[in-house]
Symmetry: none
Subunit: 257 residues, 2 copies
DNA sequence: CTTGACTCTGCACGATATTGCACGAATTCT
DNA sequence: AGAATTCGTGCAATATCGTGCAGAGTCAAG
């Protein structure tokens, strides 16, 4: 049994079961617990999993991660959402990605907007169900619990039959060289597909995502039409993106209206 | 059971139910109350929940949202949901209809249940996204805003490719002569389709629906396997349904556990 | 072919974490 | 007020962890 092989297996088990018990896994593989523990320690050092007493959990498991992010839904995301919502023209077909920022966008849609919103996020669909005039088209598929969106072949097929005018894409990183990135390979593939089915792709980027990079590339920067950033973001990075012909729009500071 | 995992579970239950009883949760997990109390204390120290006598509540922010959910979830629907959740065997494929009663059902699924839940209700999908062990398959389609479920030809096509073991169907009327009925023709058609793709169809009926009829028939009584009714419902009507070979199960009255 | 450097693995052992129980204090219910 | 829970702490048993160390295997240079 190769070390690398074993480590791959560990990550596979984590993805499958969402947990790994050091003791039982060692027995299963016929190696000592020490070896497994060593593997776990090393993988944890690389940030590939979360080491806990007794075994390991996925790095950013569905168990702890999403709700934590949910609570970070700050007012800046609402501002981004509002700025994005204003870009939508009546009658357009808009694809809304999952994630808290896009959920904010859904919440900010003008109540008199007539448009078709397509989404693979059940949360966004629920949010829009009480909007009086937009049509909502839900993409089905297997629910990916980490980010609560539909994924898999069913989703991909449904998406491939649709052409949207705008895609508001959620990312976890946006970097001049690595482009738009996210933390999951399959997720990246789905986003890429949606992006290519859409007239233009717009990224809503909170400050911490600008200049950051995650493991999986969705698309290179060239395929992104615009970036909407928070007010107060460092102007330097914006210039960097503008230099590759991307529009960088700044969300307005809060105003009394 | 890893300690970290258990703590994550505690927070999940808190988000799901809005509260946690130390004693019953300890029993549910098969650990001592001391262990749970210790966890609660530690989580409280991190500000992740609010410790109260007998158990815990979500950390302040979410507390406000609990009474809201509590009110929409009348206790009788929760009871119906619980009774229904117990009918699901591990490994089964279950189709969950939309509606508040089925949302309750989703909320009541045992945390250790391994099954596949299919639904065309984004609300149910969101609710189940934080369930640790069920797979969730979302049916896409145009969102019908009145009942917040996906409908239309896309949904019908996706449904027709699936065979489920059980279908928990929401209805607005259940009458010995008109059968199961609902208020919208297209909705009735979709429910009928799901019912015919499923091994058995089970209706969760709150008291006001028994003996009532709505404009559109979904299926005749003969195609319904069981009805789950609230405790305290008039026994006469149950006999009527039993006479056409339908099992009528009664949800248990609340018990102290 | 031999030697030496290197890696991987399993074992030993002290350190640390977790758990369940006991018991008195605090809280809630009646 | 009195009974019944629930709570918190101390404690002992057990499980798990991390580290140092030695043997086995690998590989490349000599």
């Amino acid at each position: 049994m190769l070390t690398t092989e074993r480590k791959a297996l560990i990550q596979q088990v984590l993805r499958r079961d969402g947990r790994l018990i050091a003791k039982s896994f060692a027995y299963e593989l016929g190696v000592s617990e020490d070896t497994i523990r060593r593997d776990l320690r090393e993988l944890a050092a690389e940030g590939l999993l979360q080491r806990v007493h007794g075994g390991a959990l996925p790095a950013s498991s569905a168990t702890a991660d999403y709700p934590a992010r949910q609570s970070t839904a700050s007012s800046s995301k609402a501002l981004l959402g509002l700025a994005a919502a204003r870009l939508i023209q009546p009658g357009q077909i808009v694809f809304l990605d999952g994630g808290t920022t896009n959920l904010q966008l859904a919440r900010q849609l003008p109540l008199d907007l007539k448009a078709t919103i397509i989404t693979h996020s059940p949360s966004v669909a629920v949010e829009l169900a009480c909007h009086p005039s937009v049509d909502v088209e839900l993409i089905g598929g297997r629910i990916f619990k980490h980010s609560i969106v539909a994924m898999g072949s069913t989703s991909a097929e449904a998406i491939s039959r649709i052409r949207a005018d705008i895609f508001f894409m959620g990312v976890t990183g946006l970097h001049p060289e690595t482009g738009a990135t996210t933390g999951n390979g399959e997720e990246a593939a789905i986003k890429r597909l949606i992006s290519r089915q859409s007239g233009e792709t717009i990224v809503l980027a909170t400050e911490e995502k600008l200049g950051a990079a995650s493991p999986y590339q969705i698309v290179p920067l060239a395929e992104i039409a615009s970036i909407i950033r928070e007010p107060g973001t460092d102007e330097k990075s914006s210039r960097l993106f503008r230099s590759v012909a991307i529009k960088v729009l700044q969300a307005n500071a809060p105003k009394q209206d």
